[in-house]
Symmetry: C2
Amino acid sequence: MKIDAVDFFYLSMPQILDIGDGSQDALLVRVQAGPYVGWGECEAAPLVSIASLICPPSHSACKPVITSVLGQTLDSVADIYRIGNLVRTQSLDLLQADHTLSGIDIALWDLLGKRFEEPVYNLLGTTQTFPKTPYASQLFGDTPHATYEKGLQVRQGGYNAAKFGWGPFGQGSVATDVEHIHAAREGLGPEGLLMVDAGTIWINDVEAAEQRLAALNECKVVWLEEPFVSGALNAYRQLAAKSGSVKLAGGEGCHNYFMAEQFLDYADLGFIQIDAGRIGGISEAHRVAREAQRRGITYVNHTFTSHLALSASLQPYAWIEDAVICEYPVELSSLAQELSKEHLTLDNNGQVRVPERPGLGITPDFAALQKYLVEVEIKVKGKTLYQTPTLAG
Amino acid sequence: MKIDAVDFFYLSMPQILDIGDGSQDALLVRVQAGPYVGWGECEAAPLVSIASLICPPSHSACKPVITSVLGQTLDSVADIYRIGNLVRTQSLDLLQADHTLSGIDIALWDLLGKRFEEPVYNLLGTTQTFPKTPYASQLFGDTPHATYEKGLQVRQGGYNAAKFGWGPFGQGSVATDVEHIHAAREGLGPEGLLMVDAGTIWINDVEAAEQRLAALNECKVVWLEEPFVSGALNAYRQLAAKSGSVKLAGGEGCHNYFMAEQFLDYADLGFIQIDAGRIGGISEAHRVAREAQRRGITYVNHTFTSHLALSASLQPYAWIEDAVICEYPVELSSLAQELSKEHLTLDNNGQVRVPERPGLGITPDFAALQKYLVEVEIKVKGKTLYQTPTLAG
């Protein structure tokens, strides 16, 4: 069958706060082929991805993403890979295209899964899935005491792992950062897995990052995430040589397979973190997971949005028994919380499993989402190229 | 003084042809600070870059580009670098932002140059500039004979160098590609510098690229450009080991400094090609030029649009005497041709020089451009976030 429709829905909280919380808006993607509907989600900047879906072409290698998707045959997994390659070729010079493709690719997997009545991981060739230990992913508190309180809360919530990131970390003195690290460990208790996310704050300044290493080692931090921007591979490698038992983690900024491959090859990472909503979808995330496994680097999802995105992000590495950690956002906005009818809740062991239902196993809650739907209209030469469609199944 | 206004103008030919000609549309950027005006150009996909300039924020690291530019102090070169870093930090998760920043950065240099009555290269610390040998940059013909004719025309046009790219190359059989390469050499004559651009056609397939190496060596081709996509560094390195006297060239897809650094470090390039309209502007292009020179890799501009973009692309490496080659588009659309009042024409030696006038030394031709101006309107929640401004100085 052919792909009949690709629709984007911009959802947003009424007010966007100036904090590192990526769940404040969402770009929901609906793909229709025959009687089937698939859903996906792009990360981030909804208006820009909408523009890249429908913009006028600039030349043969800078076409809108929809050109490579609408009307394409979708009968097999091979078709999904083919469509992804087509987008990358025909939108080579359209930078935003990788983010836009991501949500579409996820929706294509969801659609095929529903059609064949198989979970997506089965279509990916996974025969056995393994549960993941979710780490409670949250922002540092404004003060070390607030960070302590957050750690305590996480422990009381039944989590065995927590990550603290962004907020004041790296913005002030080394001493304050050291206090935050110790406060997080104290709140979480001596047993829990503790991770720290620097949110690229030091760009490529190895020395600045190095000053935090002693405290990170003292507090038995599992990984230091994104000390540097995604491309600063030499800085990663230099820091890794000095980081002791603390491993480096990074990769969420990768927007195609090759960026991730370079990370795997040249950054001396312990963990590679892939956002399926950015790297080109489940297809490319799965490709990275296989290569990471081959190189002995641990794959982890990057997810800071809805449980639709969470399910999509677990599919590519549900088959890796050793990759036990998964990111699990605990401070979701009401929008991200209400986006899906189903949620991936913790079992009695505090673990999360990829849903066994067809596709992604997650249904958008249309009724709940109406109040978050953002009306957008894009006109070029007097012609409406995009207008928010009606949100329904 | 403060930056008072940042305006984007989408220009387009009436019809966009499905060919690899990047001059069919343009995104012109105007920045105003006090009584001064600077002009720049972003490459490519105008509507998407417009959206990234003015979109609602998603979170603290995904803000519209304009947030980091409007109202900023602009009194020195250091301010330009500071603004670039601010955009990269505040729009970290907004993929398109690098392309959008590029045109703004170029306009900031133009503006400061006009204010201080200095050419941009002087502000970059260049004390002596060197002329460049322009290569006539054009598409392969539809048939080997058409390619031959194009080569002949270029030679008759007074060029000492030519590059053929895209079109049918790599799309059909090895034999046809070999014929095109020989036809290009025959048309151009035995003396002219000949380059070939594969336009990423083989993605990362080293074997496919390898099959063309014999003909490229036979025809004394200086470089094979973009056999693979920008990130496929391992494929580049493997091919370079087998390419004989033909050097590899690539890098136009780099949208930040670090991507280029990885190319320099891991791809065994002979030439690194940077598009100032994509990598983040003149600031980042200049940074790459310095690093390339340090590593003994030859810097070349990538420019397939107007002479405003051409001037911007020459500034970062006008100081490198050994980097003699420059890309010079000869099949410009009427839009790109008419975009500027001044043009960088060939001197009696067939060489091009960076203009000695203040700023970029190029003035947009407002009267000529009115007919290419594309009316755009973007409304979010009923509020107009963008509407094409009046194009004037």
